[in-house]
C-alpha cells in the first residue's frame, strides 16, 4: 500500500465520519417525548401563556382590524420583538402595529391608529372598554 493510497483512504474515512450525524441515527431509538415537549414550548418559553392570550385576541377580533400590543417588556430586544412577531404570526389577517422601533423609539401614532390594544401582563391606565379578558391579558378598545 502506497502512502498516497493510505492517505486517500484515511481522508475518505474522515470525510464520511465528519458528515455523519450520530444524533439522527440515535433518534429512532431514544425517548423523544422530552425533546418534543421542550421544542413545543421553545418559542414561548419566557411567556408560555402569551400565544394563548393572542389566540383569544384573534377570536375576539375580525380580519382587517388594527391591533397594537402592550407587554411588560417594551424594549425591542428585551422581548417586545418576540411579542410583536408572535402576535403577527397568530393574528394574520389583522394588522398588528408595533409601539416601539428596533431602535426603541416610541410610536405613539400606532396607539392612536389601532382599533384594539392587546395588553398582556400589564394594566392599561388609559380610558378603555374591555372587550375580553383572559390568559393573562386584556383586549380593550381605547376611548377616544
Amino acid at each position: 500500500m502506497t502512502l498516497r493510497r493510505l492517505l486517500t483512504i484515511l481522508c475518505l474515512a474522515a470525510l464520511v465520519a465528519l458528515c455523519i450525524d450520530i444524533r439522527l441515527l440515535q433518534l429512532p431509538f431514544i425517548d423523544r417525548k422530552p425533546y418534543s415537549r421542550a421544542l413545543g414550548v421553545y418559542p414561548d418559553r419566557r411567556w408560555p401563556q402569551y400565544p394563548h392570550f393572542i389566540d383569544g385576541v384573534r377570536a375576539h377580533t375580525k380580519p382587517g382590524d388594527t391591533i397594537t400590543i402592550v407587554v411588560p417588556a417594551m424594549a425591542w430586544d428585551d422581548y417586545y420583538s418576540y411579542a410583536y412577531y408572535r402576535a403577527s404570526y397568530i393574528l394574520t389577517g389583522r394588522e398588528v402595529l408595533p409601539l416601539v422601533t428596533p431602535q426603541n423609539e416610541r410610536l405613539p401614532q400606532n396607539l392612536a391608529a389601532a382599533r384594539y390594544v392587546a395588553a398582556f401582563g400589564v394594566t392599561l391606565r388609559l380610558p378603555n372598554d374591555v372587550i375580553w379578558k383572559g390568559e393573562g391579558g386584556t383586549l380593550v378598545r381605547l376611548r377616544r
Partner: protein, 450 residues
C-alpha cells in the same frame, strides 16, 4: 399528518410526467427524486400565477390546473424519444449503507416532526408569510409592502411559503404541526438524486457510502426555513450542470436550468447561486476550451440555461413592482463596504473562526490536494461555483447593514450548509475513484474535458 403526506404524494405524482417530459430516460431514484422537486416547483408556479391574475386559491382550482399540467406533461413525455445517444442510466444496486441512509432519514423525519415548527424564522418569516397569504387566498401584497412588516423580509422569494400553502389547502386549514414533512421530502429528493448520480460514476459500494455520507448534509437542521428547499434545488442544479458540462447533454442542461430557476425562487442565495453558476460555466468554458471559438461555446452554454432566467425573472419583477425592500441593499451598501474593506482580513478570520464543522472543510481541502491533478481539473466547475458563492457570502457580510458579528453568528452555518453537497460529492468521488479499484468504476475513463 395524513393531509400533509397526501400533499407531498400529490406533488410527486404531479412531477412524474414533468420529469419524463424533461428527461424521458429518467428512472428509479432519479425519477422519484426529480418528480418531487418538479412537483414542488410547479405548484409554486401555479399558486404564483393564480395570485398574479387575482384568482383566489382554492383546492379545486389549484387541483384543476395541476391536473391540466399533468396531462400536458404526459402528452409531451409520450412524444419524447425513448432512446437517444446518451449513456444508459446505471442500474442502482442496493448496499448495506443504504440501510444507514434510511436510518438517518428516519431520524430526521422524527426530528422534523417533534413539534409544531419552532424556529424563530419560521414564525417571523416563512410560516408567517404562508399564513398571511392563506388568509386572502393569494399573495398579500399589502402585507408585504407594509413598512411594519420589513422584519419578515418581504423581498425573499416565496417558493417555500407557497409549498406550505399547498399543504394547508389540502389539509383544509392552517396548521404548522406537520409542515416539517416537506423538509423530509426535500431531503429525500436530494439523496435520491445524489444516489442516482453516484451510481453512474462509482461502484455500488462507494455510491451507497457516498449517499450515506451526504444524508445529514441533505437534510436541513433549520426546519421551517427555506434552507431545505434551497439545498435540494441548488444541489440538483449544480450537479446537473456538472453532468451537462461533462457530457454536453441537452437533457442535463434542461434539468440544471429548471432546478437552478426553482432554487432562485427559494432564497436570495438561490439567485446568487445562479449567478455563481453562470460565472463558473463561463470560466470553465472559456479557459478550458481549446477549440477555435471558445466564446461560441460560452454563449451556447449560457443560453442553455434560459429556463433558469425565465423562472427567476418573475419574482424579481414583482419585487421591483411592489418596491419590496432588500435589507442588504438598504442605505449605502457601497459606503459600508468602503468602511469595512480595511478590516477584510479580520472579518475573514472571524468567518474562519466561526466556521461550522471546520474539520469537514479541512477534510474537503485535504481531499482536493490528495487526488490526482487530472481528477481535480475535471471538477473545476464545482470548485469555481463553491468559491464564487463563498466570495458572495463574504461580500454580503462586508456590506450588511446589521452588526457583522450578529449577522455571521445567525447565518454563517446555514450558508455553508447550503453549498456543502456538491463539493463534498465531487471530493468523495475523486478520492474513491482514485483508489486503484475505483479506476474500474463506471465512467472512470469516459470523461471529456469541460
Amino acid at each position: 399528518m395524513t393531509a400533509t403526506l397526501i400533499a407531498i404524494l400529490s406533488l410527486i405524482v404531479l412531477g412524474i410526467p414533468i420529469t419524463l417530459a424533461v428527461d424521458r430516460r429518467a428512472r428509479g431514484s432519479l425519477l422519484l427524486g426529480m418528480s418531487f422537486l418538479y412537483g414542488s416547483g410547479t405548484i409554486f408556479a401555479v399558486l404564483l400565477a393564480l395570485s398574479i391574475v387575482h384568482i383566489r386559491w382554492t383546492l379545486i382550482n389549484v387541483t384543476a390546473i395541476a391536473l391540466a399540467i399533468f396531462c400536458a406533461a404526459a402528452v409531451i413525455a409520450r412524444r419524447q424519444p425513448a432512446t437517444d445517444n446518451r449513456q444508459p442510466a446505471a442500474r442502482e444496486r442496493l448496499h448495506v449503507f443504504d440501510l444507514f441512509t434510511l436510518l438517518t432519514v428516519t431520524g430526521y423525519s422524527l426530528y422534523a416532526t417533534l413539534a409544531s415548527l419552532w424556529e424563530w424564522d419560521f414564525i417571523a418569516i416563512w410560516g408567517l408569510k404562508a399564513k398571511a397569504f392563506l388568509e386572502i387566498g393569494g399573495i398579500d401584497w399589502r402585507y408585504l409592502e407594509s413598512h411594519w412588516n420589513t422584519f419578515a423580509h418581504p423581498d425573499y422569494p416565496i417558493l417555500v411559503p407557497l409549498n406550505f400553502d399547498f399543504g394547508v389547502l389540502v389539509a383544509g386549514g392552517w396548521s404548522d404541526r406537520w409542515l416539517g414533512l416537506f423538509f423530509v421530502a426535500w431531503g429525500i429528493a436530494t439523496l435520491l438524486i445524489v444516489r442516482a448520480f453516484a451510481a453512474r460514476e462509482s461502484t455500488p459500494f462507494f455510491a451507497s457510502l457516498l449517499t450515506f455520507a451526504m444524508a445529514a448534509l441533505a437534510v436541513s437542521r433549520y426546519v421551517g426555513l427555506a434552507e431545505g428547499a434551497l439545498i435540494a434545488f441548488g444541489s440538483a442544479g449544480v450537479l446537473f450542470v456538472r453532468e451537462a458540462l461533462r457530457d454536453d447533454d441537452p437533457v442535463a442542461w434542461r434539468n440544471a436550468a429548471l432546478m437552478l430557476g426553482f432554487a432562485a425562487n427559494c432564497k436570495n442565495e438561490g439567485t446568487a447561486l445562479l449567478v455563481a453558476v453562470i460565472l463558473a460555466v463561463a470560466a470553465v468554458s472559456m479557459f478550458r476550451d481549446h477549440s477555435a471559438q471558445p466564446r461560441n461555446r460560452v454563449t451556447a452554454r449560457l443560453l442553455a440555461l434560459w429556463p433558469a432566467y425565465a423562472l427567476t425573472i418573475p419574482w424579481l419583477l414583482l419585487r421591483a413592482a411592489h418596491s419590496l425592500p432588500t435589507d442588504i441593499a438598504e442605505g449605502s451598501a457601497m459606503s459600508r463596504l468602503m468602511l469595512r474593506l480595511p478590516y477584510t482580513f479580520q472579518i475573514l478570520a472571524y468567518l474562519a473562526a466561526k466556521l461550522y464543522e471546520p474539520w469537514f472543510w479541512v477534510a474537503i481541502l485535504a481531499g482536493i490536494l490528495l487526488v490526482p491533478a487530472a481528477a481535480r481539473r475535471r471538477e473545476y466547475f464545482i470548485f469555481f461555483v463553491t468559491a464564487i458563492q463563498l466570495v458572495f457570502y463574504a461580500g454580503a457580510y462586508l456590506t450588511t447593514p446589521h452588526d457583522i458579528r450578529w449577522h455571521v453568528l445567525t447565518s454563517w452555518s446555514r450558508l455553508t450548509g447550503q453549498i456543502a453537497i456538491p463539493i463534498a460529492y465531487v471530493v468523495f468521488l475523486m478520492l474513491a475513484n482514485s483508489l486503484p479499484r475505483g479506476e474500474d468504476a463506471p465512467h472512470a475513463e469516459a470523461r471529456s474535458d469541460q
